[in-house]
């Protein structure tokens, strides 16, 4: 059974006059445990809305139809209790774009403790989880620091640690690398990949960076609230016309390789990463 199962999900926000404005249209999706999924889509295509629905943190559900099941539990049903919602938020952790707006406490380790404290865990257990979470993101030595003295990438890793300490099964990253410099982005992406690889945490990573998407196991492209493409990175990037329709570009190297191919150069294999490109170029040269 799929870990997350979304069936015929429609969602509309209400504008000031009370009119419904559709944002998500007939989304059906299944996500297995342990998958690493990148979600792409132009601004306003509904990515954040989808993420927030998975955590039930939207104010107004009037405009929603369809079903979201997580771990077999229908979280959209009207009978769901408050405790079940908290259970859900514990299992599906969210990391947002701006690290400054997610950190609550003035000391790193106390911020990481915030989630477990909310869960009402005993003190020793919180301590253990905090130390473990900080070690996982490589921020142990900053435990007693103040967040506003850290770099963007470090702050974002602290935010991730705050979620890890709640021991989620799935983590959603909503453009968590968007505000970071290349070094910060690299740190955060490596942390996310490590979580997926070593802890088998299901990852849903919303991003605008193609080079992040190629590292995922599966890519979902949203276009105006519809799922336009859903498949492996190689499959997605073999559809440049559809991507362009969704307002997205190919990763630079894949773009280059497809153009070369069009000129009749016999290139083979995947062209998602620079390494793959180099390999297939070398192969072509040796022929």
């Amino acid at each position: 059974m799929a870990y997350i199962k979304i069936s015929d999900l429609n969602f509309s926000y209400r504008d000031d006059d009370g009119n419904f404005i559709p944002v998500l249209k007939d989304i059906s999706l299944e996500i297995e445990k342990g998958e690493y999924i990148a979600v792409l889509g132009h601004n306003g295509s509904g990515k954040s809305t989808l993420a927030k629905l998975l955590n039930m943190v939207i104010d107004d559900y009037e405009g929603m139809t369809g079903k979201i099941e997580i771990n077999g539990k229908d979280i959209t049903s009207p009978e769901i209790t408050e405790d079940e919602i908290y259970e859900l938020r514990k299992d599906v952790g969210m990391v947002f774009q701006n690290p400054d707006n997610q950190l609550v406490a003035t000391i790193v380790e106390e911020d990481v403790a915030f989630g477990p404290e909310n869960l009402g865990l005993p003190r020793e257990e919180i301590r253990r989880r905090v130390d473990d979470a900080l070690a996982t993101v490589g921020m142990s030595e900053y435990a007693r620091h103040e967040p506003h003295r850290l770099s963007g990438g470090q702050k974002q890793r602290v935010a991730i640690a705050g979620i890890i300490a709640m021991m989620p099964e799935c983590m959603i990253f909503d453009e968590s690398t968007a505000m970071l410099d290349p070094i910060g982005r690299k740190e955060v992406i490596e942390t996310i990949e490590k979580l997926n690889r070593e802890r088998h945490i299901t990852v849903l990573s919303i991003t605008h960076y193609m080079d992040e998407a190629v590292r995922a196991g599966r890519v979902i492209v949203l276009n105006d609230g519809n799922i336009l493409l859903d498949g492996t990175p190689s499959y997605i990037f073999s559809k440049p016309d559809l991507l362009r329709e969704a307002g997205l570009d190919l990763p630079q190297c894949a773009d280059l390789m497809l153009r070369l191919k069009k000129r009749g150069i016999p290139l083979e294999g995947d062209f998602n990463t620079p390494e793959q490109c180099v390999r297939s170029l070398l192969n072509a040269l040796h022929k």
């Binding site: 969210m94 947002f96 609550v104 003035t106 915030f114 404290e117 869960l119 009402g120 003190r123 506003h148």
Partner: protein
């Protein structure tokens, strides 16, 4: 901007720094009460000496202590002068009499006593609360001291949370203000010349974006906190639990002895009593 330090916390390693914040709040209150109990010259000497001992023990440089006293120097002078001229003493203690001005020995005593009282009060409370305790420890201490009030439905946890978040966001908002001001300056805004009115008006284009962004941050933070299972103080535990150690009890005992000494000295009236 990264170097911003909130409050007047002075990082050092002293016994007082290491005390439990709850105890420090109580000690500060006791000290203030003691300064009001003092009535005669010996109790005021004791009070003044205890302030000096506190400065030495807490390892706060004198320079920093003087800086905070400088802020109230005007109030001290004012009350001193008032006491000198307005205290009416025994006729035989009249020192100066010129037209309607009469100065008595009692007036001089009162002026000195009041100044010592204010100085000690400021030194005592700031050493216990602001210099040696970070704002966050202080918030934590207040929350736990007041936690019995939760039974009366006083939102103690919520207030402490608000304080914590305010402390967390002050550096961010300060930084943002500077960014917006630079951005407006780059567009030709002038914040430093013209009449007061004109300068106040020039701040409007800074405040509006600042408010908008603060509200957006508040919304984001609320969502992030909800996602981290926050639901108020209900069922919440804490990782760090404040624990009173031997040194805390010792300090409490010392302050009790100090209070007793002040009271006893006051019972036996030595010389002028206020």
């Amino acid at each position: 901007m990264k170097g911003i330090v909130l409050g007047q916390y002075y990082p050092a390693d002293s016994v007082i720094h290491r005390l439990d914040p709850r105890i420090k709040i109580i000690l500060a209150l006791i000290y203030i009460v003691c300064s009001f109990l003092c009535r005669n010259i010996f109790s005021f000497v004791l009070l003044f000496m205890s302030s000096i001992v506190l400065i030495l023990v807490s390892r706060i440089p004198l320079k920093i202590v003087f800086r905070s006293l400088r802020a109230i120097i005007f109030i001290m002078l004012f009350t001193a002068v008032l006491n000198v001229f307005w205290t009416k003493g025994e006729p035989e203690n009249l020192l100066v009499s010129w037209k309607f001005i009469n100065i008595y020995t009692e007036g001089i005593y009162n002026a000195v006593f009041i100044v010592v009282r204010i100085v000690s009060m400021i030194i005592g409370s700031s050493i216990f609360m602001t210099y040696t305790t970070t704002p966050i420890q202080l918030t934590d201490g207040i929350e736990r001291l007041l936690s019995p009030l939760k039974k009366l439905h006083v939102p103690v946890h919520e207030f402490a949370m608000m304080m914590t978040i305010a402390l967390r966001f002050i550096p961010i908002i300060v930084e943002e203000t500077q960014k917006i001001m630079s951005a407006q300056k780059a567009r030709g805004a002038d914040f430093s010349s013209g009449s007061l009115m004109k300068r106040a008006k020039a701040l409007v284009p800074v405040l509006i974006p600042l408010f908008i962004s603060a509200f957006r941050r508040a919304g984001d933070l609320a969502t992030a906190m909800t996602c981290r299972c926050y639901r108020g103080g209900k069922g919440r535990t804490k990782m760090t639990v404040l624990k009173c150690r031997a040194r805390d009890y010792v300090m409490l005992a010392v302050s009790a002895a100090f209070t007793a000494a002040v009271v006893v000295i006051n019972i036996y009236s030595f010389g002028y009593t206020m």
